[in-house]
Amino acid sequence: MKAVSVEEAVAIIPAGASLMIGGFMAVGTPERLIDELVRQGKDGLTVIANDTALPGAGIGKLVSAGLVHKVIASHIGLNPETQQKMLAGELEVELVPQGTLIERIRAAGYGLGGVLTPTGVGTIVEEGKRKLEVDGKEYLLETALHADFALVNSFLADYYGNLHYTLTARNFNPVIAMAGRQVIAEADNIVPTGVISPDQVHTPAPVVDYLLMNG
């Protein structure tokens, strides 16, 4: 793990990269990284996240700034800008059931090729997907979803990069931290190693590549 400034962290991300971003309606989203992506104008991004929050919050800022080429999400209903840009053909949107999205991300991080889910069978979600039967029940094969970077926000990080999330700010964060080829963590609080007890670590330090320094 390397401690970096937010400027250094975002400089590592090329335009056109695919980013998994933690958060649920901007709760648990790394806002400093988002703001710096906007400042450095990294465009052509593919964003994989639960939602696009609201205009002015979290991923909503990337959408407003026109930096996003494609969104893979489960819900965009609370951000009218995302919907407008989608209908205007300025933004590609792939909608995925939330439980399927998180399993596809997890599969990538856990070295699985995919999972079989009953969700979406018989609906428009099944289009173009393989269907398999197990014990007489039909499932869709949903394949692993990879990304160049995972950007996570944790409540605590220690000096090694162990991360602890809290309350509903955990959401997608620990799962994307396993799936991003490189992982950049932004912590609300950096604490001495040992402050987070072993049972409270949600993301083990060895999967974290960069930790944002304070300031």
Binding site: F24, S74, G122, L167
Partner: protein, 216 residues
Amino acid sequence: MDAQTIIAKRIAQELREGMLVNLGIGIPTLVANYLPAGVHVYFQSENGLIGTGPVPEPGMQLRLLTDAGGRPVTALPGACTFDSAVSFGLIRGGHVDVTVLGGLQVDQQGRLANWMIPGKMVPGMGGAMDLVTGAKRVVVAMQHTAKGKAKIVRQCSLPLTSVRQVDLVVTDLAVIAFPGGRATLLETAPGVSVADVLAGTEAELVVPDQVPTMAI
């Protein structure tokens, strides 16, 4: 009693001690206000919480603790939090005893459409498809009609949320279930006649000899 209160009160009667319950946004959220006295249920927010409590007192909000709509909530003693994979494991895996969701249309075999109007409203399915596919019991909370048009229809014109048949539809006019795959009138709302329900319903509705009034 207004339409929303009728629906919420009636659905609250479906909840039993110890159940794990997921309430959608809108009318379903109101169900929590009418829990039978002494009954303790667990409310799940799919963003990663069991034990969701009411809105916090002024000044006590925490940005790190919200419902699935991003609004501040509280956590009751005995609450627990988890990541989204666990949250949807609970949902898809059949651990949620009851989910209450809004509806745009329900067909006469009990299949729900509630996540998009092509060309008009494409918010995304969020957790709805997993909830309808995986919860032990699916209850739909909706107005019986929208702008005078029936919402309980022969066939959904809107994209389905799941091919799984829902268990109960509760509207401001009626309670409907789908035994044997046929829409069946179970109860009418106070002051509503069977004829009123039939007039507002496009689907073929089985009407038993006796149709009791909702005990709300």
